[in-house]
């Protein structure tokens, strides 16, 4: 195997490692302190309300983070004049374009499949017990789908820019 191929694959592993590692840090540095700060002295009396507020904030943060990723990604494509080439999977932009389509699918899955059902599961909007149970299955599959898609998405995002030896 060419060393350039190993180098390209190392970049994919590198970014995935960063996601796991820094994701852990961010969960502790950003998520935990911000949510715990909402707890009042007599937390037990108002636990349901606190849990709901913390849950809404947590889901809001990751939902809107997806839009930050989408906007910054589209900006980088536009800056390089690659939007149409990537979206139409044209020539050398095809690998990156596949990553873009995977990313767009993940954003759509999050906002249009997971979120409408998650609202019911978490009790943000009223729903019957049966409906909430049905929605848990949808949110599970939707979430798992995005986890699966994230791995090839990271591959094509990184390889599209740095993995020419592979293609």
């Amino acid at each position: 195997m060419e060393l350039a191929v190993v180098d390209a694959l190392a970049r994919w592993v590198h970014v995935m490692g960063v996601v796991v590692w820094v994701g852990h840090n961010w969960a502790n540095v950003v998520q935990t302190p911000r949510y715990l700060r909402r707890l009042p002295a007599e937390a037990e009396a108002v636990v349901p309300g606190i849990a709901m507020a913390a849950s809404k904030r947590e889901h809001g943060i990751f939902r809107y983070a997806s839009l930050v990723v989408l906007a910054s990604g589209l900006f980088m494509l536009a800056y390089r004049g690659l939007v149409l080439d990537a979206l139409s999977l044209r020539g050398d932009a095809a690998p990156l374009g596949l990553g873009v389509w995977l990313g767009l699918t993940m954003v759509a899955n999050l906002w249009f499949v997971l979120w409408p059902h998650q609202k019911k599961v978490l009790g943000f909007i009223p729903a019957s017990a049966e409906e909430r149970l049905r929605c848990t299955r949808v949110t599970f599959l939707s979430s798992r789908t995005n986890t699966i898609l994230s791995i090839p998405a990271l591959f094509f995002m990184t390889m599209g820019a740095h993995g020419h030896a592979l293609f």
Binding site: G91, I148, I151, P152, F167
Partner: protein, 36 residues
């Protein structure tokens, strides 16, 4: 007894991701080679 769904495992997730990555990788190589 714990209900364990077919896809409810890290191994299943990683296998699905690996298969999808390989299929799309082959597609990407074809697209780049064709130069369309």
């Amino acid at each position: 007894m714990q209900l364990r769904l077919p896809h409810d495992s890290l191994r299943g997730t990683l296998c699905a991701a690996a298969v999808l990555t390989l299929i799309l990788f082959a597609l990407a190589r074809v697209l780049v080679a064709s130069g369309l």
